[in-house]
Subunit: 138 residues, 3 copies
């Protein structure tokens, strides 16, 4: 069995951003040499997400409005978590979007559908945060 | 290490449907010959879901009403994604329900609780779409 | 390839509770002897969750209020699932929180960020229910 590990680092300019990391994850897979197996990609922070969806700016705008509706950022006093912190909404937004994706590896490639793109979803940014890529297989 | 891959195809008659695929996934596992390992089952489309829950028609009705409340299909103009498309709600509904499940394989069987059933959740159907089953182990 | 399986049992005093199981999962990993691989931890019941987030009581209070807002327990008649049962809300709450987590195993340890803690989320408790830990690797 072969195993591979890499951390990807991000520092967004805005509090919330969606970043397409598909190419970077593909590069990790190539570097790993794994031909058949499973690839795990997860946020290592609890106010961020890794998820699969479409790379379409209209949809990303819809995600932003929808998540703000389900778990509004403000007023900060709305959440008990927000004493020293102001990011309770980011914990909830990431819960909706999910922590991780597991992707099949087949013939050395990400075995995904034609519109499946992997995103880093940042909900409390403007600081250095990381994502883990772990691959096991042969 | 042994690895197995299969695509399952669906074409629902309605825009939204929940289909129990547990038996089909079990058949894949048997075909794979894997006795110990992990099984990934994921939608390959970004407007569909694979999830685990109960096979109970009342609950499925509740899911439909609940998801329509959280991410209504109409008016289509509600979403910026809906220009050429009308399926923004399906992207959001699938986000709630999740893209994938990972199930343990033990003694050649799906290692699941007594009420755990695997479903394909279609939120933008009436066209051919697929699910991936990938199994790794020994 | 090495594989390991363990069931963890819970019986909460309240209908809803969040229990930090990180230490227990770490003990499973140690017992497994796996140094490199993937660890799956999932609820075996469809009204409970395994998820990763922060061990902070204010946030847990926020989760409780937020989930009650998105999928209220009462009135029970609100849900068609609630005939013989009264736990439809628990099926929905667990859907938001997720069924499972997959965690990387590196150098014999859970490869998680500094604030990542693994929780059992019970939404229909006061009875014995279980979680599966499955580890594969080398």
């Amino acid at each position: 069995m072969r195993s591979y590990r890499k951390e990807l680092w991000f520092e967004t300019k805005k509090r919330r951003e969606l970043i397409n990391i598909t190419g970077t994850v593909e590069a990790c897979l190539k570097e790993s040499g794994v031909e058949e197996g499973l690839l795990l990609c997860n946020a290592m922070h609890i106010t961020a997400s890794v998820f699969v969806n479409d790379d379409e700016s209209g949809l990303h705008h819809d995600f932003e409005e929808w998540l703000e509706g389900l778990a509004p950022e403000k007023p900060y006093s709305r959440y008990r978590h927000n004493g020293y912190e102001d990011n309770a909404d980011a914990h909830l937004k990431r819960t909706i979007m999910g922590r991780e994706v597991v992707v099949a590896v087949t013939d050395g490639k990400l075995d995904v559908g034609p519109w499946e793109q992997i995103f880093y979803g940042e909900f409390d940014g403007k600081r250095r945060k990381r994502v883990l890529v772990k691959i096991i297989g042969e």
